[in-house]
C-alpha cells in the first residue's frame, strides 16, 4: 500500500498531468480559461480570491523553494527566532488561503448567479483544495516545525522520486495527516488537466515585456 501511494501515485500523477494537460491544450484549447465569475459577482470575489491566491501562492512557493534549495533553506532556519518567525508566517498565510477559499466556497453556494456557472468539477476541486489546505494547517498545529523536518523527510523522498529511485522509507513512518497531505497533493496534480486548474500554467508573464499593440498579418506569417 505504501509502495503504491508513495512510489506509484506520484509518477502516475505527473504523467496524467503532463499528458492530460498537453492533450487538452492540443484538442480543447478553447477550454483553457480561468473561468472567472467576477463578472457575475465582484465584491465577495475580491475578498475571497485575493486572500486565497496570494496565500496559497506564498505557501506553495515555500514548498517548492525548500525542495529546490534545501541546503540554503536549512541554514535560513538555523536559529530559534528565524524558525519561529517562519512557522508563524507560514501558518498565517495558510490561514489566509484557507479563509479565502472557504469564503469562495460559501460565495459559490450562496450566490445563485455564480452557482449556475459552477460545474461538478468545480465543486470537487473546491472541496479537495479546502481539504488540502486544512490538512496543512492541521499539520502545522499538530506537528510543529514542519518547515524544518520537511527538509529531512519529504524533500529527500521527492528527490529520490526525481532520481527514479523511490525511497519510501523517508515517509512511511510519518503521521497519517502528513501522508494524506502528500498523497492528496499528487492527486490534485493528477486532477489538474480535468479542471479549471489549467489556468495555473497559462500565467501571462510575457505581458511584462511584450509590446502593447499586437498585429497579426494574414498574408505574412509574422507579428508587428
Amino acid at each position: 500500500m505504501n509502495t503504491f501511494l508513495f512510489a506509484v501515485v506520484p509518477y502516475l500523477a505527473v504523467v496524467i498531468a503532463v499528458v492530460g494537460g498537453i492533450a487538452r491544450y492540443r484538442w480543447d484549447r478553447f477550454s483553457y480559461s480561468s473561468q472567472s465569475s467576477q463578472f457575475l459577482e465582484s465584491r465577495k470575489l475580491f475578498w475571497g480570491s485575493i486572500a486565497w491566491h496570494y496565500g496559497v501562492l506564498a505557501v506553495l512557493g515555500a514548498h517548492v523553494l525548500a525542495l529546490m534549495f534545501w541546503d540554503a533553506w536549512g541554514k535560513m532556519l538555523s536559529g530559534p527566532t528565524r524558525l519561529y518567525s517562519f512557522e508563524v508566517a507560514g501558518l498565517a498565510l495558510s490561514w489566509l488561503a484557507f479563509g479565502g477559499l472557504a469564503f469562495l466556497l460559501w460565495r459559490r453556494l450562496s450566490d445563485s448567479r455564480v452557482r449556475t456557472v459552477t460545474s461538478p468539477m468545480d465543486w470537487v476541486l473546491l472541496v479537495l483544495l479546502l481539504g488540502q489546505v486544512g490538512l496543512g494547517i492541521w499539520m502545522a498545529l499538530g506537528y510543529r516545525w514542519g518547515s524544518d523536518w520537511y527538509l529531512h523527510t519529504i524533500v529527500p523522498w521527492i528527490h529520490s522520486l526525481f532520481a527514479l529511485n523511490p525511497k519510501i522509507g523517508y515517509v512511511t513512518a510519518l503521521p497519517d495527516v502528513v501522508k494524506a497531505h502528500a498523497v492528496l497533493g499528487f492527486f490534485l496534480m493528477a486532477l489538474f488537466p480535468f479542471t479549471r486548474l489549467v489556468h495555473v500554467v497559462t500565467v501571462p508573464i510575457t505581458y511584462l515585456w511584450r509590446p502593447y499593440q499586437v498585429y497579426l498579418w494574414n498574408r505574412r506569417a509574422s507579428r508587428q
Binding site: 480559461s33 460545474s119 499593440q213 498574408r219
Partner: protein
C-alpha cells in the same frame, strides 16, 4: 512613415432615427447565444443619456483608455504591466453584469399551462442566468428617448462643464431634445483592449486593421473589458471568454457590408479604406487634448499622393486597395471635408469610427405662447422668410460644449467648424431647391464655413442620396491569398483550414 490600410467607418448622426435595426441585425447573427444575451456589439443609445453599460464614459469609474503622461508619453489608465498581473485575481475596475443589465426572458409556458382560474395567467420575467423570476430593473435601452430627463440623462458624464442654466434648458418641457448615438467597436488604431490583455489574445489585423479577439488564447483575465474605454469588449459569463465586434469580417471578405451597415434604415453608415501612418500612432495619441482631433486627421494620409502610394505598395497594399482608399467615403468625410469626428478622442485609443455630429433644432424659447427664435434676426434672413434663421445653428439646442465633450475632446472650435459647414450646406441647398434665402446670406454661410458651392453640393450628395456602392466601398481583402500564405496549398482549407471551431464553444470541464 509606415503606411497601413484600415477599414474605417463614418456614422452620420443627422440621419439616425434610432430604430435599432442595426442592433437587431447584429444580435441575430452573432450574439444570440447563451452567455452573450446581454451583449450588444452594436447598440444605439440616446444622448444626453447614460448609455450602455450605464455611464460607460465615466473613466474615473471604469478606467478605460490611455492617459497622457507628459510630452509623448502614454500609459494605460487601467494599470501598469506589473499591476495587471497583481490585479489578475480580482480586477478592481471590472464592470459587473448589473452595470449592463440582467438578461431575461418570460415564462411563456405559464400562459398555456396555467390551471383554470379567475385571473388571466401572466408570463413572469425570468432571469436568463439563473432561471429564477426577477424584477426587471435595467435593459439595453433603459433610458431610450428620455433625453433631458432628470432621472437618467442628468447623470450623463458629457454634461460636465455645462452651466446649470444650460442643464435646466435641456429639461424644459416641450423643448426636450435628444439624438441617437449608435456604437460599435471603433477598431481603434491604438486600442486599449489589445494593450490591456495580459494573454495577448487580442490583435489588430495588419492588412485591414480589424481588431479581433482569439477565443482560444483568451484566459478570462478580463482586463480588456476595463481597458476598452468604449466598453465594446464583453465577457461571456457562460463560456468564460471575452468577445467583441468582428466588423463582420467574413462578410467583408466576401465583399458584403457588415450586417449593421447593410441593414441601416436611415443609411447613416459609410465604410471605406483609409491609409494612415502607423509610425505616428504613439505621437498622435500622446498629444494634448485640444490637438487630438487635428493630429488624428493628420495621421490619415492622402491616397492620391504618389509618395504615399509608393510607401503603401511597399507595405503590401495592392493597387486595388489603393483605388478603394481613393474612393472611400470615409476619407472624404474625415479628411477632405473634416465633417466626421472621432468619439471621445480624449480616450486616446484613436478610434477609426467617425461621427458627423447631428444638426440640432433651432434655439427657441416659448414667449407669450409662441416660439421665439433667439437671435433670429442676426443674419437678416428670417424676416424675409418668416422662418427660423437656419444660419444660427451654432446657437443650438444642445450646447456646443456638450458636443465638444463627445466629439472633439472638449475643443469647441472644431465642433463649431463642423457646424458652420453643415449649416452652409443646408443654406446653400435650400437656396438651390427653394430659393427663399438671399444670395448674400448663402455666400456669407459658405464663406464662414470655408467651403465652395461645389463642395457643399458634393457633401449634400454623399449625405442625402448616396448609392449603396458609394456608401460602402469595400476593398478586396484577399482572403484567398491569406490562405495561401498561411497554409501553402489553398485546398488544404477544406480540412485543416476548417470552419473555425470544430467543437461547440461552450464549457466542458
Amino acid at each position: 512613415m509606415d503606411i497601413r490600410a484600415q477599414v474605417s467607418m463614418v456614422f452620420h448622426l443627422d440621419k439616425c432615427i434610432g430604430c435599432h435595426t442595426c442592433s437587431i441585425a447584429c444580435k441575430n447573427i452573432w450574439t444570440d447565444r447563451k452567455g452573450s444575451e446581454y451583449m450588444w456589439w452594436n447598440n444605439v443609445e440616446t444622448k444626453p443619456g447614460t448609455g450602455y453599460p450605464t455611464q460607460w464614459e465615466d473613466q474615473q469609474k471604469y478606467r478605460g483608455g490611455w492617459e497622457r503622461e507628459g510630452e509623448g508619453k502614454l500609459s494605460l489608465k487601467l494599470q501598469g504591466r506589473g499591476r495587471a498581473l497583481g490585479n489578475i485575481f480580482a480586477n478592481p475596475y471590472l464592470p459587473t453584469i448589473d452595470d449592463y443589465y440582467e438578461p431575461w426572458t418570460y415564462d411563456f409556458d405559464e400562459l398555456f399551462n396555467a390551471p383554470e382560474g379567475d385571473d388571466q395567467p401572466t408570463a413572469r420575467p425570468v432571469s436568463m442566468i439563473t432561471g429564477e423570476p426577477i424584477d426587471i430593473e435595467a435593459g439595453p435601452n433603459w433610458d431610450d428617448d428620455l433625453g433631458g430627463s432628470t432621472i437618467y440623462a442628468a447623470n450623463d458624464p458629457n454634461l460636465e462643464g455645462l452651466s446649470s442654466d444650460e442643464r435646466a434648458e435641456l429639461n424644459e418641457l416641450e423643448r426636450m431634445v435628444f439624438f441617437y448615438l449608435p456604437r460599435i467597436c471603433n477598431h481603434c488604431a491604438n486600442p486599449g483592449c489589445v494593450a490591456a490583455c495580459p494573454a495577448g489574445a487580442i490583435h489588430k489585423r495588419g492588412e485591414d486593421g480589424i481588431v479581433l479577439l482569439n477565443q482560444e488564447k483568451c484566459r478570462a483575465w478580463r482586463m480588456c473589458i476595463s481597458g476598452c474605454p468604449y466598453k465594446k469588449t464583453y465577457y461571456n459569463w457562460a463560456t468564460g471568454k471575452s468577445e467583441k465586434c468582428i466588423l463582420c469580417y467574413p462578410r467583408l471578405e466576401s465583399g458584403h457590408a457588415p450586417a449593421c451597415f447593410h441593414s441601416c434604415v436611415g443609411r447613416i453608415r459609410y465604410l471605406g479604406l483609409v491609409l494612415y501612418d502607423a509610425a505616428a500612432i504613439k505621437d498622435v495619441a500622446a498629444r494634448p487634448d485640444e490637438e487630438l482631433v487635428e493630429a488624428q486627421r493628420a495621421m490619415i494620409k492622402d491616397p492620391f499622393d504618389p509618395e504615399i502610394i509608393e510607401l503603401a505598395q511597399a507595405n503590401g497594399i495592392t493597387p486595388d486597395q489603393i483605388k478603394a482608399a481613393q474612393d472611400s467615403p470615409v476619407y472624404k468625410f474625415v479628411k477632405v471635408w473634416k465633417l466626421a469626428l472621432p468619439l471621445h478622442a480624449e480616450f486616446r485609443t484613436l478610434p477609426m469610427l467617425f461621427y458627423v455630429p447631428p444638426m440640432l433644432p433651432v434655439l427657441a424659447t416659448l414667449k407669450n405662447g409662441r416660439y421665439d427664435v433667439d437671435g433670429a434676426n442676426k443674419n437678416g434672413g428670417t424676416e424675409a422668410t418668416g422662418l427660423p434663421s437656419i444660419s444660427n445653428l451654432e446657437q443650438s439646442r444642445v450646447p456646443l460644449r456638450y458636443m465638444a465633450n463627445l466629439f472633439s475632446a472638449g475643443n469647441e472650435a472644431i465642433v463649431a467648424e463642423v457646424y458652420r459647414k453643415l449649416n452652409a450646406v443646408r443654406v446653400h441647398m435650400r437656396q438651390q431647391k427653394v430659393g427663399n434665402i438671399p444670395e448674400s446670406e448663402v455666400a456669407e454661410a459658405l464663406g464662414a464655413a470655408g467651403i465652395t458651392a461645389d463642395e457643399a453640393e458634393a457633401i449634400f450628395r454623399l449625405t442625402a442620396m448616396p448609392t449603396f456602392q458609394e456608401r460602402f466601398v469595400i476593398p478586396p481583402l484577399l482572403r484567398d491569398q491569406a490562405f495561401e500564405a498561411q497554409l501553402g496549398d489553398p485546398f488544404t482549407q477544406k480540412r485543416e483550414g476548417g470552419f473555425g471551431f470544430r467543437a461547440a464553444p461552450e464549457r466542458r470541464w
